[in-house]
Amino acid sequence: MEKKRKEGVRSGKKKKIKLSVNGIGYELEIGDKPGEVDYGHTLAHTLRETLNLTGTKVACDHGACGCCTVLMDGKAVLSCMTLTVECDGKNITTIEGLKDNKTGALDPIQQAFIEHSAFQCGYCTPGIIMSAKALLMENPSPSKEEIKEALSGNFCRCISNYQAIDAVITASNRGR
């Protein structure tokens, strides 16, 4: 199969995948050259290394910490445990895609996180905000318990969890 793949490359019929990130369509060629997507690349890798969207963080790289959380078709998923080649036709939203493109205003969740100082080092914050975004899109007025549940897959070593929950409550109230 390896051979077949290389022949494919040589004959110029490169496989491509199409995906949309933050509303922008990308057509990425599959291969092992710079700018291409290898079969072994995770979505987190592609976002950060190929598309330069470094807002998505990779901490554990094993699906345990939630730092790499992005939205795929509106659902919070772990980009470190997703193969990019399996994202053909998907709509991805990362932390860079939350601000209002026209006004440049931050998403209400981002704004609330700042107001509540809901982070210290900030490394886990993009992941937490993406989880919160998925929650509020599905459930604009969550209870505190529902917020805790939705953020339970995101870990913060600086113990800003309490502020994060308050921030999400604030954001949901503003959305009402």
Partner: protein, 781 residues
Amino acid sequence: MKSFSHYNPKSVEEAVQVLSTYDGKAKPNAGGTDLLGILKEKSLPEYPEAIVNLKTIEGLSYIKEEEDFIAIGSLTKLSEIAGSQMVREKISLLADAAKEVATPQIRNMATVGGNLAQDVRCWYYRYPHHLGGRIVCLRKGGTLCNALSGDNRYHSIFGVAPMEKYPCAEGCPAKTDIPFYMSYIKEGKIDEAGEIMMKYNPIPAITGRVCPIFCEPKCNRKSFDEPLAIRCVERYLGDQLLENKEKFYRKPCKENGRSVAIVGSGPAGLTAAYYLRKKGYSVVVYEKLKNAGGMLYNTIPSYRLPKPVVKRQIEALEEMGIKFKTGVEVGVDIRLEELSDRYNAVFLAAGAWKERKMGIEGEGFAISGLSFLMSKEELAGDIKGKKVAVIGGGNVAVDVARTLLRMGATPSVLYRRTKGEMPAFEEETRKALEEGVEFSFLTLPKAIKKVDGKLELSCVKMRLSGKDESGRPRPVPVKGSEFTMLFDFVIKATGEEPEWEIIPGEIKRDIRKEPSGAYKLEGNLFIGGDFANGPSTVIEASASGRAAFTLIDKWIRGDREDFIDEMVKQRPNTSIFVDIPRVSIPEIPPSERIKVLEGEETPDVGWNEIKKEAERCFNCGCLAVNPSDMAVALIALDGEIVTTKKRVRAEELFTDSGLGKVLLDPDEIIKEIRIPKPKAGSHQRFLKFTLRKPVDFAIASVATSLVIKDGLCVDARIVLGSLAPVPLRAKKAEELLIGKPIDESIASVAASLALSDAKPLGMNAYKVEIGKTLVKRSIFA
């Protein structure tokens, strides 16, 4: 991650087709949350060549309510199951279990099929390759389950997933299930241990003394400290069997009216006789010598195998109703054709007694090794203080030399190759050397001459060059190295072969295939043991005797059930780890040893030591637990799993199917799960204990599904998760609840029963209490 080929099949058929072309080297990817971890860590020795993405298959993500069951497509996300109103109302247990899996993000990615098919979560098994190299555990083809003696906090408290094949048993020519009988000895159950032993080897008192132990070098414990002293335990067990012969060598309950004659009473003959008699055949054993036992009684020296042991063995067999006709030589005293006519079958197990000729001048001056061993008493007076040459390098040569030493002679072994090529057991050669037997290696006698009442041996030195047809180094003479030596006696032991002359007519000798084989000749003649295969070991000849029994029995009865399938006992899968050294069997010093000709040189070992030694058996298996929460729930709900190859009850898919065997074939995909609709009065509960609520795998989980009717429990299924290699039904607890009202006290008793068979290891006893608490709360909270 290393790269791989990647496929996006559109249909189940296409996915299966791709998987099957890769012959196990492609992995399906349902959600990826398990697979990608394994790929990143490179923890498995084989990295997949291709990934087959199942997410592109349409129509496998659904939750459907059928008339009497609920069907869920295998690609349905756990978040969808947890969030489904219908699932929550009808089978809340499944929704709860789905909700307990990992984190919201993972539940958005993970599928129910993937959850059921995920790999074990043992941190030895999953140790990352980039941190000093992967750990090769038993599950990955290694020799040890590291959790047994190491960190087993997260491992099974209900024993191991057994191996498909045990290296010790595979090493044994008789394939004796060593871990099985050891597990009974651990528990002090000699009778049960004996029963297992007798299924493979009915003469363990003998093999326990003279076996060159094919098993011990294969014992996995050797990579921890030293192999188990299997022969020592076997000998003890064998002696116990003979001591209680009325129990173990019982007459058959029913005669089957058929008869078999056995020619030869060595290990092959005795073994075949035992199994045939046990099945109700009338068995007559013909032995040309005065004493039954073949080489066991007549040539193996007493210091290795005491005559009383062989006698007791023969007596035990006699009491089963086997007749021994000694001093009757087939072909001389009775014709083979006559036996053929008189019996339904004849088994020729006459051994290999014909000594090979050296083909040298003056060979007639040499005494044959076997006849020396048989009639040494007659020579006792002459040989004391004499110098004796022993020609040969096999067991007979070494037996002769060591016997000579005990008779006060000075033996000198002449062998044409070196010590490394000697066919004699290493242990025997070592003892001979310790005792002072002189060895002249690379020495070939060319002629024997009588000179002044002594024997002059003309020899030539050899060197090894190339290989002969048997693959051994070929000895070639060194030019000009001829020399002579003077001896009082010369004994030759240069190999034996079967006396084929017993068989009249045309049946020819090129039958030798494998040492433990037995074969059918023309008519009702069968051959086995050394007679068929040439000189081998006692256990090989015995195994061949058992093979002959199977062959003869099948031939007489016609093709029906196989013998070995009689095994009914469930193999105990408990493992314990004891850090005690191998039993040390005191050896008598060589200078004392050579004073005794008849006494056994290896002393008996007591019961305490034997039991301790048996406890050293690892009962090899994998202690990892299946991590799937959905499996525990599905089994409690008595759900079914539909794959591309079968439709099975979940309970049947998750069985201790043996290490190496996985739940699904490499090209098999789960398509659907089906859960029967619960009856009225259904009480369902799923409880999971983890160290950190989100993300972590269960330390213990319990899924309980009860049906309460008129205040009484009429049906109960209680399944323990992460406590055993696979989800385990607490059947004793279930039985207790049936027919009773559910209250707190009965829940407590059920909880204790559920965990009563637990055999925790060094670091996981804490799981017992957690398990009990979860069971109790799942029944009554």
